[in-house]
């Protein structure tokens, strides 16, 4: 482990070298994060938080920071997502103005490069950057914070409504000849009473093994209404580790919809702090995996204040020898009376070799609260399959209809129609692939 950290040191130094003129506070954050990563190293399965997800393949691969790359408008247009009218395009972790679409933003909205915002929006960025996501105890957050050279920045002033959804598109590009890693970083600051729909997408133009280590920080001011969608469709040999840290102020309404559709080893941490009375958080997620892939979703909802509802539904569809992990932590602090938290986690296993480890984790320190959780893991309902077949649908049509119904509970909540359609198309495409596999077997 020390070796890994030593290996990364030169790059951490380079980052600092490159960041000549980076403000003092930022250098400070990076230094601290680098020191924390050096101390923490990569987690192992002995860490409770990583019991079922072994990141040794990441730790043992000699990943180099990804080089700068240029992506053409044609390449962008061919991507399965990213066709929304507003777009912050990031290529290998760096803002790419040429393929971004940031015209006609409402007054006062800032959208674009985080590196630029470090100096250009110096009265706001330092208050949040590195302050929400915990780099002190989370090694991947520390790694990102130490190495991220740029990122996406979205600032929505008080009372401003973004009428159109905005997409933050992280593209990995390269010839695929070497193992590269990227540290995508996002900071979203939504002012009081602001509203926005934000799509954070991770796609790739390269092949082979690479490593995406993303950190997103979201601050939702009082009464802000933020819908956040994350679409992860990395290459099938890719590692994707991501942390999103949300802070919801009084009466803010934040919802997260996480779609994990690609990647060989995927870990999503979504942590939401309900940090003001009446704040409301929804964390929904859907994941698909087949082959030997692993998808791990860890969520934490921290009820720090009273009168906060939270809702959570995660659903997974697993085929082949795929594995999944779901860990849903709900903390209800002593002052958080009248908390109403509901968590559901369901997984559909399409093969006998697929598996999931699922664990609800409630830590309740207040007495007047309502917390419910439920987990269900199962195979397709044979009675339902027969019923549909008895009405003329083939086995595969019946199966698709049931899987679709299962996923629909999550997909149908997507409030951006082109995105909803793209997700449906991807679901069908993956099911069709899976069928081809079965037919070949």
């Amino acid at each position: 482990m020390t070796q890994v950290v030593e290996r990364l040191q030169p790059w951490i130094a380079t980052v600092e070298g490159r960041a000549q003129g980076a403000p003092r506070w930022l250098q400070d954050v990076r230094d601290k994060a680098a020191a924390r990563f050096a101390a923490l190293g990569f987690p192992t399965v002995r860490d409770e938080e990583w019991r079922f997800t072994n990141v040794a393949p990441i730790a043992s691969t000699d990943f180099r920071p990804s080089a700068e790359a240029v992506v053409s408008a044609e390449q962008m247009a061919a991507l399965p997502y990213g066709n929304l009218p507003l777009r912050i395009a990031m290529v290998n972790g760096r803002f790419s103005a040429g393929v971004s679409r940031l015209q006609n933003l409402p007054r006062g909205v800032r959208a674009g490069s985080l590196a630029a915002a470090f100096t250009e929006h110096a009265d706001v960025v330092p208050r949040y950057y590195g302050q929400l996501a915990d780099f002190h105890s989370r090694s991947f957050v520390a790694l990102n914070t130490a190495l991220a050279i740029d990122g996406a920045y979205l600032y929505i002033p008080d009372g401003t409504v973004l009428e159109h959804p905005i997409e933050i598109l992280f593209v990995t590009a390269g010839d695929g000849s070497s193992a590269e890693m990227t540290q995508p970083r996002t900071l979203i600051v939504a002012g009081e009473r602001s509203q926005a729909r934000i799509v954070e997408t991770y796609v790739t133009l390269r092949e082979g093994t690479y490593f995406t280590n993303a950190v997103t920080e979201v601050f939702a001011g009082e009464h802000a209404v933020i819908d956040h969608y994350k679409v992860q469709q990395e290459g099938l040999e890719a590692f994707h580790i991501a942390t999103m840290q949300v802070n919801a102020q009084r009466s803010a309404n934040f919802s997260s919809h996480s779609f994990s559709l690609g990647g060989r080893l995927v870990r999503n941490d979504v942590n939401a702090a309900l940090d003001g009375e009446g704040a409301e958080v929804t964390l929904n997620g859907m994941y698909l995996a087949d082959g030997d892939r692993l998808i791990d979703n860890h969520t934490t909802i921290d009820h720090a204040r009273a009168h906060c509802p939270s809702h959570e539904i995660y659903k997974g569809i697993l085929g082949g020898r795929a594995r999944a992990v779901f860990n849903g932590k709900i903390i209800v602090r002593q002052d958080a009376q009248k908390t109403d938290a509901k968590q559901t986690n369901r997984a559909l296993l399409l093969s006998d070799s697929a598996s999931i480890n699922t664990k609800p984790q409630l830590e309740i320190f207040a007495d007047d609260v309502k917390c419910t959780h439920g987990a269900a893991v199962g195979q397709l309902d044979e009675d339902a399959i027969f019923y549909l077949r008895a009405r003329g649908l083939t086995y595969f049509e019946a199966r698709d209809m049931l899987i679709h119904a299962f996923a629909g509970e999550i997909i149908d909540r997507v409030q951006i129609e082109p995105l909803r359609q793209a997700l449906e198309a991807e679901l069908y495409a993956q099911l069709a692939n899976d069928l081809a596999e079965i037919d070949a077997a």
């Binding site: 044979e382 027969f386 549909l388 008895a390 009405r391 003329g392 083939t394 209809m401 049931l402 629909g408």
Partner: protein, 253 residues
Amino acid sequence: MLQIKNLQVKAEDKQILTGVDLHVKAGQVHAIMGPNGSGKSTLARVIAGHPEYVVTGGEVLYEGRDLLEMDPDERAREGVFMAFQYPVEIAGVNNAYFLKAAVNAKRKHLGQPELDAMEFMELIKEKSKLLEINQAMLQRAVNEGFSGGEKKRNEIFQMALLEPKLAVLDETDSGLDIDALKTVAAGVNTMRGPDRAIIVVTHYQRLLDYIVPDHVHVLSAGRIVKSGGKELALELEQKGYSWIETGAQPVGA
């Protein structure tokens, strides 16, 4: 239309049908009656192709073809329909969407153009009145939260939409009050015709007051022990099944 010869069926290593013979012609309505556990529902489900049963002997010919060789969905597309005794609730699948998929699966099989949303709504409008199918039932998930009567009406509604050649109604009367029974029976009666055969599986004679059969068969211990006209049902109603089971009367009297 349907010829069943010496059909023997097992489920979970238990012999349920021990040798059923039944011949159903187009245009006829047959009632299969019998006490609980006699194998009535098994017979219906074997015709539909339920996977939990193993045929250990005999044969079933449908329009001269080996029915047992066909997958359940192929049977359906070829015109075999079973109204379920316990219609399955399918969360997340919109009833109208399901019905359209079923109708189009059959049309595709028959080489007919699939119905688009508009054409399908026209068809629904035409067929839904008789069975008192309302908009809410179409927009809910398949059978989910339906009352017993609604589920059975939804089954016969599917039969009306799919226009099968051979329909098997598996205890369609169970759990229905008299008004719902009349509605369901009226729906079935409009489907009677020279090209269609209907098999009504029931424990009670009550349904047969409204769907009057041409032939009545009594199933006991896995085989048909008595056959007759519609008056046999009335006789059973008066005397009960023990009359048959004790064999007090010779078979075929």
